[in-house]
């Protein structure tokens, strides 16, 4: 490289120590990449980053960059110190949607890598916090070229801005015995129903779907998605008593009592004198603890489905919110089940698009208008599973009580009749 290499005394410190260093990676692009364009971009990026380390300030600002036909999916970045570091003064990121569960063949990773070194900086992250593959660093013009190339072989942009965002799913049924639903199918059918809302930001703010196959919630859907789908079951958990006995023999009774039965949040388990386990399934809240400790002996039941929780989100703007249970249980087996779930998502997004304020997440809208108004808006009946406990405050009008009570009995009767068909 003919140009001057920026000195990086502070960044050099991050090449010490045993953990793999991202600084060494960027330096490899600067020093070893055959393409002079990539060398210069890496050099310039390192220069700006070192400047940030020295002055303890960031120097990127946003803007508007998109590909033809779309309104979002790119994180535009323009440097505020572009005069000193011109080769990385435009350094946009493309958000690309991965498959559910983040599976790749090495062939596909190579193909993506080749396209990215043709049009971008050669830096990539698997994956960003929203779930996208992040292709970090390209110019406005090359953004289009790169997108065109990878779009031809099967990849599409994810969301950025006020839109439906890229989804995330756990590894799920592909490799986990705890999985209670087809995460991949749910993920794809929901996300691809809203492709238009991913590409054209027109909602109050972001809206995220995340799917976890069981209540361990490995993709953190409950805290980090507006629409969390968590697999569960409603019949008895399955117990292999021979495996229970083998486990007790291996670990000892005291260990099982201390770590399994007394850790049950509802005290629904008993270790019997003959080293078998009894579970009161009506009290079981499917917390997963005992299944996690004894995966060979205990498994989810057969009557599997999902719980849907709405309105989880991170800090901005009113503070962190967990998702709230809106559907305690729903089977996910037939076409109609999938259709029902998609319709529910449509209703929620529509209602929020109409009623949410600018920059207000769905959970924040629920906080502002109250859960009952939200449920009414999306056409879902109240259910005692939606609350931790009934209202405490006595300041409430109850003029419609009798009609509501009648409605409750009518619904109960209907459910009973349906169950007996």
């Amino acid at each position: 490289m003919a140009k001057k290499v920026h000195e990086t005394p502070m960044l050099d410190e991050l090449e010490n120590g045993p953990w793999p260093s991202f600084i060494s990676g960027i330096k490899r692009l600067r020093d070893q990449h055959p393409d002079e364009r990539i060398q210069s971009v890496a050099n310039s990026l390192l220069g700006q980053l070192e400047h940030s380390y020295e002055t303890r300030k960031g120097y990127w600002k946003g803007g508007t960059v998109s590909v033809y036909g779309y309104g979002g999916g790119i994180i535009p970045r323009f440097s505020e110190v572009g005069a000193a570091f011109p080769e990385s003064k435009e350094f946009h990121t493309l958000r690309v949607q991965p498959p559910a569960g983040n599976f790749y063949t090495t062939d596909m990773l190579r193909q993506l890598g080749e396209s990215w070194e043709k049009w971008g900086s050669g830096l990539v992250t698997f994956h960003g916090q929203t779930g996208n593959i992040m292709f970090i660093g390209t110019t406005t013009e090359n953004t289009q070229h790169f997108f065109d190339e990878i779009n031809e072989y099967g990849w599409d942009l994810g969301g950025a801005g006020p839109c439906v965002r890229t989804g995330m799913s756990c590894v799920g049924a592909a490799r986990c015995e705890q999985s209670c639903c087809n995460e991949h199918s749910i993920h794809r059918s929901l996300l691809n129903r809203f492709t238009d809302d991913v590409h054209r930001p027109a909602l109050p703010y972001k809206f995220k779907f995340k799917v976890s196959g069981c209540p361990n919630d490995c993709v953190n859907s409950i805290e980090r998605s507006d629409f969390a789908i968590i697999g569960t079951w409603r019949d008895a958990m399955k117990i292999d008593q021979d495996e229970v006995k083998a486990y007790v023999a291996r670990k000892g009774r005291q260990y099982v009592i201390d770590n399994v039965t007394t850790r049950c949040p509802t005290n629904c388990m008993t270790l019997n004198d003959d080293d078998t386990l009894t579970v009161d399934d009506h009290d079981c809240v499917r917390c997963m603890h005992c299944l996690n400790v004894m995966p060979t002996a205990l498994s989810p039941g057969d009557d599997k489905g999902i719980t849907v929780l709405i309105g989880g989100k991170r800090t901005l703007k009113i503070g962190d919110l967990m998702g709230t249970v809106v559907v305690p249980f729903m089977k996910m087996e037939t076409e109609e089940d999938y259709q029902r779930l998609t319709e529910m998502a449509e209703n929620i997004i529509d209602f929020w698009a109409e009623n949410g304020l600018e920059h207000e997440r769905c959970g924040e809208m629920i906080e502002r208008i109250g859960l009952v108004n939200f449920l009414e808006g999306i056409g879902v009946d109240v259910d005692p599973h939606m609350v931790s406990h009934p209202r405490q405050s006595s300041y409430v009008r109850t003029d419609g009580w009798d009609e509501q009570a009648e409605e409750w009995y009518r619904r109960k009767l209907e459910a009973k009749q349906q169950a007996s068909v």
């Binding site: 300030k57 970045r77 062939d107 890598g113 994956h127 490799r175 986990c176 999985s179 949040p265 600018e358």
Partner: protein, 358 residues
Amino acid sequence: MALADMRTPIESGCPDGFQYMHPVMRRNYGQWKYHDHPRPGVLRHVSHHGDQIWTVKAGTQRILDVFTLRKLCDIGDKYAEGYVRFTIRSNIEYMVSDGAKVEPLVKALEDAGFVVGGTANSVSMISHTQGWLHCDIPGTDASGVVKAMMDELIDEFRTCRMPNRVHITTSCCQINCGGQGDIAINVQHTKPPKINHDLVSNVCERPSVVARCPVAAIRPALVNGKPSLEVDEKKCICCGACYPPCPPMQINDPEHTKLAIWVGGNHSNARGKPTFQKLVAAGIPNNPPRWPEATAIVKRILKAYQEGARDWERVNDWIERIGWPRFFEVTGLPFTTYHVDNWRGARSSLNASTHIRF
């Protein structure tokens, strides 16, 4: 690009993952019976049909250059049947159908400088945000903080010596894109934004900036005869949310940007209900390139957790059992007025009982 060259996108959305899935996983989809944990960094799953798949997990630098990506692919081709996946903490997982392939794969990864581990009761890779490398309101460089910290926690990644798994997250501002963790290292701006009044009227859409503020501290104002904005500094919580829609409201500050540490975030439903992280330490210097002060506090918390927690207790379970006063005692961290919540709903976090440990 001329308009005539413009190409209509193929709006294919989320791709089908089955085409990239290991054939054993495809064949046994939804048919897994149990798993075990032969050694740190390795999982074995057994299906109802008797098929088995071994997973080897390795930590990476998260920001990958194409050389590193190719190195990971070379290892995948030579030792791991060509299939990989990534975890949400940016670890890479290789799946092999034959147990005999595990040790050569582990060796190849370690020889190439990657770190095998991150399973079961380990400290997993720190999930983090973009920081100075790419974010527009970063108070620090999340990638650098994480690299420096993982250098010191590497043995806890490689081994399973913790009472339960430990998830750590890092965010480069209070908006906290990095997420919730058993231990979360987040940047805390401590001074209100400095406004460049000459630029506001040209750059910022003032109503959206006003709407963005969580505490209604921003008002439209005329300054030197020009439309601008003003901040009620007493109300301002220094979150920085006004900066993206209005860059003349500079929040980053080399001196007053500090790191803070939060603990007990746990999104799993296992045992208790999911919990949010709680503040335990703030005012930690933003001290590149190695941030030693933050790492020292994280290590102190991890040590207390490791010594004090029982098997299967996550950080939040452990603290719930021993109580917060004891947490501050065993970690030696000071308890200050900043630990007492004053945000909406805060009274529910106060102790309205005589449940007190002596």
